[in-house]
Amino acid sequence: MSDDDRSKIPDLIKIGSTQSDMSMEVDSDILDPVVSSDNFCRFVLNNKGFLHSFSAISIGLKATAATEQFLPYGIGVMALIERCALRVGQTTIAEIQDFGSYMAYRSVFNDTDTNIERETYLTSRGLAYDFNYLNGSGAKYSDVNASNFYLKTRREVDNIGDIPKLYTGDGEANSLPLDELETSAGSEFRIQLSQLFPFLQTNQLPLFMIDQQVSIELFFTPKASKKRVIESADASADVAEIDFNNIRMIADYIYYDGDIMEQYRNANRVMSFNYVDYRLNKRTLIATASNTDTFVGKKQILDVGGAGRIVSKVISGLYEDGMTNPNVSVLNVFQARCPKTINNNNQRVITNLRYNDHYLYPLDRDNYAIHFNDVIQSSGDVPHLPRQVYSNEGQGSLSAGAGFVAFNDQDIGEQDGTGLSGGLFFNCYRPNRNERINSRGLELEITYGGTTNFNAFETRNYTHKTWLEILRTATLDNGTFSQDFA
């Protein structure tokens, strides 16, 4: 086949590169897992057509008698999955560890209106904010003044006849989602494959060209960890069970007309494409009740890996893995914590990234708005997070009980520094010098809080998690898949 002929064949694995007038058919299969247990299941795909990236896995919890029990607010049904892997034959193409923690980062880019209008029902993610038109602490509803903001849950409609109750946060109105989202309803939700494996947002797998078994493996969050759900009080989170009678995959296969697929196969007997995968690095940081042994206020130099790789992005956060009862926090453990305020004073976070003997930033970053801007610049999208939720700034001077996020005085709240306030603080770095990382790897330097303010964090263990977005190359050689680092 000549080069001219090849140029007429569209790059069918790249989403968006097909012509708009090209006809295609979509065939959907409903697949049950071939293996499943309490903590694991595997789906095997049929080797036909192109795998549509928006194919989805439906999953939910068994209906229980538990009341006021929901999937975690920030990541919804993603909390059920601890690890996911896409394998072709014996080759792992993509894998994300601590998937829930990773999705805590990914989910902040959803517009709040998207969350309440769509994601509430698709994934049970519900972080949507609105003004609380309450004219000061303890005052009545106002049609002008909003003294704080709260999570919008549609409960407002339930309580429209009792406005004072709603706006003073008396009861569940402000904090709890709709009844159908309670685990007692046994609702099902959907996770798209492109959410499990982000490279599928731009690529679709040519299954018909692969001779090996293509499988998707899900490792579930252990129920005893209490990380699957949130509750208004610690009750039965450790027995929340996935409904294996209803877990299935809706696999959509795309077919193109005429000879185009055969031409594509013949033209790409050996094909390669680049994609990104995520590598997790974890480090335990211990906060103690004194200024001597704690990590607070001390520069942490973390070797986070990446030696010899091309790293396009670094994502990090200080996760709340050490809570005894994470189920009573609105975000469960899927939160990246910012230092608490002390005497209304915000505590700095100072950071930089060092690689190839040079720092990424000429001076350390020490300003929360710059941290936030770096997330925007690194991710190419804006996090939809209020200032108080990201960095604990802007809390105002209202007395306790009327704090800026209405969650502060709710059951699922912030009393122990585990609520929404300062709960989604991520840092992102984009190594931008077009360099491969040398053998020393990346060194992430970060200082949480002031040197004398150990109480900026609760006394417990935290896990500093860092994902490296690494460029990889996949090769499909006459039906056999292989992958390597770029």
């Binding site: 000061g136 505590q347 700095r348 000429p362 708005a369 801007n373 939809h384 809390q395």
Partner: protein, 442 residues
């Protein structure tokens, strides 16, 4: 010139060149202008990555933090952005002014209402600018922020911010060459601060002021690859195009208001206007960034009943007299849909506009005299007029050679209440540069 310059990118962090030794800047203490210098160097500046960052704190009197109990606030439309009055970009090498945006706060008070949703003011704009689209929420979270008030455990003062400087040159997707040989010869950036009396709304606190600290510019620059640099070094001239913002000011005080300007611009894409009673400006008793409708007094709107846009005396934009709904029904409280649509169209193509804060809550035709006309839901009133001349080709229309821009308004402005009128023009401009100097072709 492509924005995908082949080369190595790295970050810059620029400190201001004229701050006091304590690093604090305030209009009150005699620092009305902050200057930054991005020196001449063989790199491209990625203008879209440039941010002004620092901290801002509001004081009700000398070194005393404002609290929620104090009657003091900043505009909920702007947050920190209201502190910037003018942005002047010039060449470091030959001092030629490239772009000068006046009344930046007035421009931004309309702009963000038209391009950002209420949800965005609660989220990413809240984090980067401190903006929050409700007066009380703005006050609690920003103006009365107590960070730094207690010396115990204090690390820094006030609110963090990191804002883009939205000028035509810096918003362009084309990178800005900083070289003396093949570019503009470095960039000087001067920020004129807004007076306290304009930035703050503090009717009972005559000594209220704001203070900036830890100021810096952050940005990314690209070092061209060696082969490209070699080619550039032999280049004797260059040019880049961008959509610039030009501002004009006038006042109106009549039932038949005529605005007429020689714009002297050849590629005008759109124009919008916003209004405010003149006595609200630079007056602590009022929020000077309100975008009000015309008002006879604190309780009575002076409705615009007809609008005609002209170029050189001929109608342009729409070939008819735009009669507003209130012309037929004087008691209507509903905003005229055509005026709103044309106004929004001046920022984005109306059909492509996915988000804004213009809603029945913010455009309804009713005044609330409470609290100096600030007592409104969401970000307050979003009134303005606008017209887009070219949403197709991107080349715009010429307002030169005596073809003046005109707006003719029939209003109900029967009282003696002059209104400041701010006019902002978006036009395509070209910056041409040689080692000997710069020229802006507008």
């Amino acid at each position: 010139m492509s924005s995908n310059v082949n080369g190595r990118t790295h970050y810059l962090e620029i400190q201001p060149s004229n701050v006091k030794s304590n690093g604090k800047v305030s209009y009150r203490d005699g620092n009305p202008v902050i200057e930054f210098i991005i020196g001449e160097q063989n790199t491209y500046l990625l203008g879209q990555t440039l941010r002004l960052a620092g901290n801002i704190q509001v004081y009700k009197t000398d070194d005393t933090y404002a609290t929620t109990a104090d009657n003091i606030n900043v505009s909920p439309k702007l947050g920190m952005l209201g502190a910037i009055d003018q942005i002047v970009l010039s060449s470091q090498r030959n001092k030629s002014v490239i772009e000068h945006i006046r009344h930046f706060g007035r421009w931004a008070s309309s702009y963000y209402g038209n391009v950002a949703s209420k949800g965005e003011t609660l989220t990413h704009l809240n984090e980067t600018t401190g903006m929050m689209a409700n007066p009380l929420a703005q006050k609690i979270s920003f103006t009365a922020n107590q960070n730094g008030a207690s010396q115990t455990s204090a690390e820094y003062d006030g609110n963090s911010f990191c804002v883009p400087l939205t000028t035509g040159l810096l918003s362009s997707s084309d990178p800005v060459p900083l070289s003396a040989q093949w570019g503009i010869g470095g960039l000087n950036l001067a920020l004129h601060l807004t007076p306290d009396s304009q930035f703050l709304f503090a009717p009972t606190l005559g000594n209220a002021y704001y203070e900036l600290s830890n100021l810096k510019l952050i940005c990314e620059v690209v070092e061209p690859a060696v082969d490209e640099l070699s080619r550039l070094m032999s280049q004797s001239s260059g040019a880049m195009s961008y959509n610039a913002i030009t501002s004009y000011y006038t006042s109106i005080n009549s039932t038949f208001a005529t605005i007429n300007f020689n714009l002297a611009l050849s590629n005008v894409l759109s124009v919008f206007l916003n209004f405010i009673p003149s006595n609200y400006l630079n007056n602590l008793a009022y929020d000077g960034f309100q975008t009000t409708p015309l008002m006879n007094n604190a309780t009575e709107i002076a409705p615009i009943t007809q609008m005609v846009i002209t170029r050189g005396g001929q109608k342009i934009g729409f070939e008819y007299n735009l009669d507003a709904n209130v012309r037929d029904n004087a008691s209507s409280t509903i905003a005229d849909p055509q005026l709103v649509r044309f106004y929004m169209n001046a920022f984005n193509k109306f059909m492509d506009s996915k988000k804004s804060q213009l809603s029945p809550h913010t455009t309804f035709r009713k005044l609330n005299a409470t609290s100096a006309n600030t007592h409104y839901p969401e970000g307050g009133q979003y009134f303005g007029l606008g017209i887009a001349f070219d949403n197709v080709s991107g080349d715009g229309v010429a307002f030169q050679s005596g073809n003046n821009f005109g707006v003719n308004l029939e209003t109900g402005l029967t009282n003696d209440n002059p209104h400041a009128t701010f006019i902002f023009v978006r036009s395509k401009q070209t910056l041409a540069f040689t080692p000997n100097g710069l020229q802006v072709v507008s």
